[in-house]
């Protein structure tokens, strides 16, 4: 296909604003999918994505429209996947900015729209759901027009659900979005904007060819990681895989690499031919590092091998997930897992529980801290129990957060941001009623329950997005929990010094309630280093006897004691105290409870 007849575009939209429905209509109109095979929302392939109404992994699809090849490159719809979104957008020359005409633009949409504008993509604004009675297309159109500096008349008004206006969208893609540039004669370069793992064929790369062309069986190299392989198969997605002999400049398709390890080919890398390699990779590759960490333990320690296998399998399709074996005295064998963000963590947890049928204990999430010891050594800490005690400096990751909210809730958002050590950056009216607030916040304040608090304090109206903004020194400290004088490793946490007392008190109080009384007094303490900041005592039982025991009772009483003995053996021992699993669960769930 000659470059002039190719259009590469993405759809930028908020969850539930109709992206998948629009994609389905486009597939229908272009007859890419026979009607009988038409499943609702073809693009979202994972069960979980369907349920949560979000797209986690980008995919692409090529369709024909009035003599042109239109390549729709899907983008992940959540805050944790900003980097993947940016790579998808970089593969395009234009984007549809799709907004629910009843709700207006949301923070994530805005963030992604800015990403697209930064890449100088041609933006086609679309107001969707005009069939809904509560739709206000005029307001939506003027909001979009103001944002883009366009005329409101240029905003397309459609209903992806009924199909109204969708043909005009396809025409606008052809008319307004420029064809891909790139030099077809130059050494070949292709941007990897997504990967997936095929259990028979290994790693599959989804690519946008920028310069030159690629042929089947050609020896290739990924320039950033240096990985070499052969293009076992090239093809396009329509939307099923369809092999082609070659992919030329401007085209979008897939490369079957035969690689068995997904970590050897990362999103954002540049593929080139080993026969005539390009001198420079395409710009923008980053090694995305997990920023949120949590320990994942099987409830039943016998399930450890199953958990390990499950993580291995998830990792095949999710290069951004990391995991290392972790042994907790209290929770046994498990893994310290790294995630891009909270949603990523939730998705992994749900997949482990749902697809692999595992019962899990998950420790409170923590962020990556950068600690400088007195000796000047810098370590990155992913586990509170590993935070060195003698420190010169701790740096914590910060984010730049954008919140869009109806103006009545500005106060509530500011209050929350202040509670969470936020520093105000700016405020901007997007329309008469809606405000964009921008704050800088420590990521550590976000991982616990910020998003839920935001939703509840704004009655669900707020939308939220963030970008990492680097490490900054923070007055954070490690708080340990001790039961019977012994540290419970799984309950250590890193927290801002001002919040340490309150948090320590809460944890200790809760543990006192959850740990059954023992034969001895048991101290439950929260401590910073050797300094105890909160203490509760679980008072010893005053009596624990079988009231009577005569000749007819002996068997029954013996069995009763034997049963109690068995029960004790199953409990986790900390400091000579049997701590039932429920106690750990209750403490680890403290945050989700506070949300309610």
């Amino acid at each position: 296909m000659e470059q002039a007849r190719i259009r590469n575009f993405a759809i930028i939209a908020h969850i539930d604003h109709g992206k998948s429905t629009l994609a389905d209509r486009i597939l229908e109109l272009t007859h890419a999918v026979p009607e009988r095979e038409m499943r609702e929302q073809v693009l979202d392939s994972m069960e979980l994505e369907r349920e949560r109404g979000i797209t986690i992994k980008a995919q692409a699809v090529s369709v024909r429209w009035r003599g042109h090849q239109l390549n729709l490159i899907d983008t992940p719809g959540h805050v944790d996947f900003t980097y993947e979104v940016s790579r998808s957008l970089q593969a395009c020359e234009g984007a549809l900015l799709l907004v629910d005409a009843a709700q207006g633009i949301e923070a994530q949409t805005l963030a992604n729209a800015y990403l697209a504008l930064d890449d100088e993509l041609e933006i086609v604004p679309v107001a969707n759901k005009i069939d809904l009675p509560q739709a206000d297309p005029d307001t939506a159109a003027s909001e979009l027009a103001a944002l883009l500096g366009e005329e409101p008349e240029r905003v397309l008004r459609i209903s992806a659900k009924t199909g109204e206006g969708v043909e005009a969208v396809l025409d606008a893609i052809v008319e307004r979005i420029p064809p891909p540039g790139g030099d077809p004669e130059a050494p070949a370069r292709a941007l990897v904007f997504d990967t997936s793992y095929d259990q028979y064929r290994g790693v599959v790369a989804f690519v946008r060819v920028v310069d030159g062309s690629f042929e089947t069986r050609e020896p290739l190299r990924a320039m950033a990681l240096g990985t070499s392989f052969e293009a076992e198969e090239l093809g396009v997605l329509s939307p099923a895989r369809r092999p082609v002999p070659s992919l030329g400049a401007g085209e979008v398709g897939y490369v079957i690499t035969g690689l068995k390890d997904v970590s050897r080919l990362r999103v954002g890398d540049t593929l080139t031919s080993r026969r005539r390699p390009a001198a420079e990779p395409l710009p923008g590759y980053q090694d995305v590092k997990p920023m949120v960490f949590a320990g994942i333990f099987p409830t039943d320690s016998d399930d450890y091998p199953e958990l390990r296998d499950a993580l291995e399998r998830l990792k095949l399709n999710d290069a951004s997930l990391s995991y290392d074996p972790e042994t907790s005295q209290a929770l046994g064998f498990g893994f310290r897992c790294g995630f891009l963000g909270l949603l990523h963590m939730e998705i992994v947890r749900e997949r482990l529980e749902r697809e692999f049928d595992l019962d899990l204990l998950i420790t409170a999430p923590t962020v990556a801290y950068r600690a400088t010891t007195r000796g000047g050594e810098v370590v990155e800490v992913h586990n509170p129990a590993e935070m060195p005690r003698e420190l010169e400096l701790v740096e914590e990751p910060y984010i730049k957060a954008s919140v869009i909210v109806p103006k009545d809730y500005v106060g509530a958002v500011m209050e929350l941001a202040n509670e969470r050590r936020g520093s105000f950056d700016h405020l901007e009216y997007l329309s008469e009623d809606r405000v964009l607030l921008s704050y800088e916040l420590p990521l550590g304040e976000i991982v616990l329950d910020f998003y839920d608090q935001l939703k509840s304090r704004t009655r669900g109206y707020a939308s939220f997005d963030y970008d990492l903004a680097g490490f900054r020194p923070g007055d954070v400290t490690r708080v340990d929990i001790l039961v019977g004088g012994e540290q419970v490793d799984a309950l250590s946490l890193i927290i801002h010094r001002d919040a340490a007392y309150e948090r320590g008190r809460l944890l200790v109080e809760r543990l006192r309630k959850e740990i059954p009384r023992q034969l001895f007094d048991v101290a439950v303490q929260a401590a910073i280093g050797s300094r105890v900041i909160a203490r509760e005592t679980i008072k010893a039982k005053r009596k624990d006897v079988l009231a009577k025991c005569y000749g007819g009772d002996i068997t029954r009483k013996r069995k009763l004691l034997e049963k109690q003995k068995k029960g004790k053996k199953r409990m986790k021992q900390v400091g000579g105290v049997e701590v039932p699993q429920e106690a750990f669960l209750a403490v680890l769930n403290l945050d989700s409870e506070r949300r309610r």
């Binding site: 009596k543 006897v545 009231a547 009577k548 025991c549 000749g551 007819g552 002996i554 013996r558 004691l561």
Partner: protein, 373 residues
């Protein structure tokens, strides 16, 4: 050597109290004779396991003294000679005639189910006797010459205050019983009582936590020996050196063999524990035909016997020889509990022993669980 202890179960009661989960039969006066016949047949069938000298016999129930007078006399008459013959009695059943009958039948120890002296608590327990019935019963027994009377008391009754308990203990002590058994009321699953009062008991659990201590404090202060978790007897020094511990029950706690006869009765003989099944009809019918009654049997291996020795022996105030329970005892746990002041390990001439401290005895159940290997 044969069994030196005989238990005889008399299941009949005038009324089943709400908290009771024993094997009992209400009323059926017309069957008392047939039942005693069956008992005597079982004794004849099984008597061979008894030692030549039977040290103790215990008539338990039910309410043994509810059994018809002539039937009871016939039974007492047929029992082997013994050192200690105990009968359980409910206060309202004690009459001058009964007292004389027991005395004539060789009974030398009576265990009276007093339970409480507070009318409102007795009514919660559905007991028929009032406080004065208890006192009258004691006087009648004394008049008949009984010098070894035990009173049963219950504590932890729904609605019972600490002051109520104090009064109950004082009222019981005023009668100068030789022996007292004090039990915390258990809401046993499935009883009418638990259905009616279980929630209330759960609510009061914290308030009643100190009652056990209160009982032990009051009775030891009054000169009683706390010789078993729930049992107290006058110190020998106060009764001319007599050992007033219940010898029959000591046999259980020492792990001795015993023969039990009657419906629902349990025997432990030569490494096997067997239990006659409940059910009056089939018990009587089997013995009428000269067969042994339907039973279930559990064999006790050495390890099980050691565990039982441990759990029973630790109920007593006497040190338990470690050698008797070596396989059942978790030595590490014992040392930990010694450090915590709950257990004592001592060495005397006869080898090492293990016992519970005073605080350890209040926590005897939990401590035993810890000590079990």
């Amino acid at each position: 050597m044969g069994a030196r202890h005989l238990y005889v179960h008399l299941p009949f009661c005038a009324h089943r109290c709400g908290y009771c989960d024993f094997v009992t039969v209400v009323g059926r006066r017309e069957q008392h004779g047939a039942y005693v016949d069956a008992l005597l047949r079982e004794l004849a069938l099984e008597g061979g396991v008894l030692a030549e000298h039977v040290e103790t016999v215990f008539l338990g129930g039910g309410t043994p003294t509810f059994t018809g007078g002539s039937e009871l006399a016939r039974l007492l008459d047929a029992l082997p000679e013994t050192d200690e013959l105990t009968v359980e009695a409910n206060p309202e059943t004690v009459t001058p005639e009964l007292a004389r009958l027991l005395r004539a039948g060789g009974v030398n120890r009576v265990s009276l189910g007093a339970q409480s002296f507070r009318p409102h608590l007795l009514s919660v327990l559905e007991r028929r006797a009032g406080p004065d019935d208890v006192r009258r019963a004691v006087y009648l027994l004394r008049d008949a010459g009984f010098d070894n009377i035990s009173l049963d008391l219950l504590y932890g009754i729904p609605g019972q205050s600490a002051a109520d308990l104090e009064c109950d203990l004082a009222d019981a002590l005023a009668l100068e019983p030789e022996h007292l058994s004090c039990y915390e009321l258990e809401a046993k699953p499935g009883t009418r009582f638990t259905h009616a009062h279980g929630d209330e008991l759960a609510r009061q659990a914290d308030a009643m936590e100190g009652y056990f201590e209160q009982v032990v404090d009051a009775l030891t202060a009054a000169g009683y020996r706390w010789y078993e978790t729930a049992n107290f007897c006058l110190e020998p020094g106060r009764v001319g050196g007599r050992d007033l511990r219940a010898r029959h029950n000591l046999a259980y706690w020492w792990g001795r063999d015993y023969l039990g006869i009657g419906m629902g009765a349990v025997s432990t003989l030569a490494g096997a524990r067997r239990r006659n099944l409940p059910g009056l009809g089939r018990y009587v019918a089997a013995l009428q035909e000269g067969r042994t009654p339907p039973r279930e049997t559990e064999s006790l291996d050495e390890a099980t016997k050691e565990r039982e020795r441990l759990l029973l022996g630790l109920r007593l105030d006497e040190p338990l020889p470690v050698a008797d329970v070596a396989g059942a005892l978790d030595k590490k746990a014992a040392e930990r509990l010694v450090a915590g002041g709950l257990v004592e390990l001592t060495e005397n001439g006869g080898g090492p022993t293990v016992s519970l401290t005073r605080r350890g005895r209040f926590l005897g159940g939990g401590v035993t669980v810890e000590l079990l290997a």
